[in-house]
């Protein structure tokens, strides 16, 4: 069967599965819509959290980033897993005991302030839209790469699917579709990973193959990689190029940001008990760790393969996958010295992404119109190729390629749905019900949530079709802002009885404004100054959330120490959320 037919079949089958689950689990009440009636088993919740958390970027791009940056890529591995330790110990059990529906609701109640709640809602909406725009784009990209459908058409198909199951099913529908999506994506990730591990090292377990020797030699994979890289002038794979303080700050910002992301936190509101909330965090990390410990192994194998099969090989003799992905526009070769041989090394062959002309050169390579740089390297490789091209590199059958397409879509759709739900509940529950229409009936609120979800899908889709130029640069925003706002406010809300409204609002405001200004300054106002020489303490905009978080803590404590302690009933509330007993179902109010 043709590979493209297989892709239609596999993707179509997974979409049918998601829709089937959505119909079967549709939500009938606000409690079901917001938190799946708090009836989700910890293992299911762990899988759903994993799918919710692992986005198109984790699935498609992360291994590629690690492959091309070596040790520097570790910030994502540690940063995007270490946050679950904080979630499990500092947030999840207490927020579950609190027993309401949304993160702004906790902030508003704990700090007895409608202002705090509204500030929190604005943060939630900003963070979630930033994030969801990339997901919708990701859906479009997967469609266009594998099925040669226009990116915009791909986004619209994705919108239709997400619209269907998030509007209909709410949290309950999303949870069970995410469980299915997790299974699809992890299977799709592991099959080629296992094959490529066998191909390079002979060991079927990628995590073990990573430390083994290259087949037929007695050199370890990493030594081989360092050696191959050194010949071409690259820094050793196992050494970094970033400064220690920057690696530290980025890792911290990603960890704390993970623990402060509303669509992740809200998953822990769905478990039946406090005990299950803790367990859920453990299962979530287990399911995430399967992918996150495989990714660096895949990165190393794919890089070994790339460095052995491409540099100093004539274009005519390059492997078939090289030409396939050149046709797809992810690889470009500009024969600068006219010798017909592919030179690869440090730097970039030309500025920016390749602009292909419709002509072929004398070796039948696709010509690009970009002006060459002074660097000797002639090869442009899009990082996403590491995951996308794996099945072909390992000579796997067409159905594995189809699986990768379905996995990439599952990763993007599941994250998009989780984010859209958070946006819609913030609007219907935290803005509409708590501010403008306090007497709204449950039916009315549910309808409002569904309308908000529908509108959010359309806005997210528009972001996907007309991506704002800044989308690629704003990932730092989502994590930095979550780290500088929600994490400190929630942690102090649980662990300090003295933290009051004034302290929390001042802390959030200072943390947010500081982090926001720093990122805007270096990313948009003066991008030419965006280098270590001008950064404060050598911390890049990606890591600045760490400083924002520290500022938030310091300002909150200082302000709280000179203002009035929180009222008696709030102190009782804190005592109550600290012990598990009495965590019933969701409190409707």
């Amino acid at each position: 069967m043709e590979t493209s037919t297989l892709i239609y079949l596999v993707v179509g089958a997974t979409f049918a599965l998601y829709i089937g689950i959505a119909i079967w689990t549709r939500a009938g009440s606000t409690s079901e819509y917001y938190v799946a009636s708090k009836g989700v088993h910890p293992v299911a919740n762990g899988m759903a959290t994993g799918a919710d958390w692992m986005s198109a970027a984790s699935f498609i791009s992360m291994a590629g980033i690690i492959s091309f940056t070596g040790y520097d890529g570790s910030v994502y591995l540690m940063g995007w897993t270490g946050g679950y330790v904080l979630l499990a110990m500092c947030l999840a059990p207490y927020l579950r005991k609190f027993g309401r529906y949304t993160v702004p609701e906790f902030v508003g109640t704990r700090y007895y302030s409608q202002t705090a709640r509204v500030v929190a809602v604005i943060c939630v909406i900003f963070i979630s839209f930033t994030y969801v725009a990339g997901q919708m784009r990701g859906v479009g990209i997967v469609f266009s790469r594998y099925l040669e459908i226009d990116i915009n058409m791909g986004v619209i198909i994705g919108m239709a699917i997400v619209f269907f199951y998030s509007v209909l099913g709410g949290m309950k529908g999303i949870t069970y579709t995410q469980v299915a999506q997790y299974c699809v994506m992890i299977f799709a990730y592991m099959v080629p990973a296992i094959y490529i591990s066998i191909l390079i090292t002979g060991n079927p377990i990628p995590q073990l193959g990573f430390g083994s020797t290259v087949s037929g030699t007695d050199i370890s994979v990493l030594d081989r990689l360092n050696g191959l890289g050194a010949e071409l002038g690259f820094t050793a794979y196992t050494d970094g190029t970033k400064s220690t303080i920057d690696v530290f700050a980025i890792t911290m910002a990603l960890m704390v940001g993970t623990a402060g992301l509303p669509h992740v936190i809200v998953r822990f509101f769905t478990t039946p008990t406090v005990r299950d909330a803790r367990k859920s965090a453990g299962y979530a990390l287990l399911f995430i760790a399967i992918l996150y410990t495989t990714a660096p192994a895949v990165a190393a194998f794919a890089r070994t393969n790339l460095l052995t099969s491409i540099p100093n090989v004539s274009y005519e003799q390059a492997p078939q996958w090289f030409k396939t992905w050149e046709n797809a526009g992810l690889i470009a070769w500009q024969d600068k010295n006219g010798d017909g041989i592919i030179q690869y090394g440090v730097g970039a062959p030309f500025a920016g992404a390749p602009q292909f002309t419709n002509e072929r050169g004398e070796h039948n390579e696709r010509l690009v119109s970009n002006a060459p740089t002074a660097d000797e390297t002639e090869l442009y490789v899009d990082r996403d190729i590491i995951v996308l091209a794996n099945p072909e590199i390992a000579n796997l059958p067409g159905w594995v390629v189809a699986l990768i397409a379905a996995g990439g879509l599952a990763a993007a759709l599941s994250t998009a749905a989780g984010l859209l739900l958070v946006i819609s509940t913030s609007i219907s529950h935290d803005l509409l019900k708590s501010n403008f229409k306090k007497d709204i009936s449950e039916k009315g609120e549910l309808l409002a949530a569904r309308i908000a979800a529908g509108v959010a899908v359309i806005v997210a889709g528009l972001f996907g079709i007309y991506p704002p130029a800044f989308v690629a640069q704003v990932v730092a925003f989502a994590f930095g802002l979550a780290a500088a706002s929600f994490f400190p406010v929630i942690v102090m809300g649980i662990f300090s009885k003295k933290m009051n409204k004034e302290g929390a609002i001042a802390g959030m405001a200072v943390g947010l404004i500081f982090t926001f200004s720093y990122i805007v300054f270096f990313k948009f106002i003066s991008p030419e100054l965006d280098n270590a020489e001008h950064w404060w303490f050598g911390i890049s905009p990606e890591g600045i959330g760490t400083l924002g978080m520290i500022l938030n803590f310091v300002v909150s404590v200082a302000v709280a120490s000179v203002t009035k302690a929180p009222p008696e009933e709030i102190q009782h509330l804190i005592e109550d959320i600290r012990v598990p007993r009495g965590a019933g179902g969701a409190i409707a109010h």
Binding site: I66, S74, S212, L222, R275, L285, T293
Partner: protein
């Protein structure tokens, strides 16, 4: 147990904090210390085909995080019962 409800809750919270701080110290150790601050030093040591610091940064820290949550879940379940604050 002869403790009053409030005393029990207070003692429970104290023991919970202690456990949390110990586990968070390990969290900091396996990621920030072993994988970042002392990575060059640890890279001098070979560990199953990996430079040790690099292994912590790309594999070991994640396994460490998993173990930490496991220990936390088990210890907290015991504490919940010890101070009689568990859910039915």
């Amino acid at each position: 147990m002869s403790l009053s409800k409030e005393d029990a809750a207070r003692a429970y919270w104290k023991e919970n904090l202690r456990l949390m701080l110990i586990l968070l110290a390990v969290w900091f150790l396996v990621s920030f210390c072993a994988g970042i601050l002392f990575v060059d030093l640890l890279n001098q040591i070979q560990f199953f085909g990996f430079p040790l610091g690099f292994w912590f940064a790309q594999q070991g820290s994640i396994y460490g995080f998993l173990l930490l949550i496991l220990v936390y879940v088990l210890r907290m379940n015991t504490l919940d019962r010890k101070y009689d604050v568990h859910e039915d």
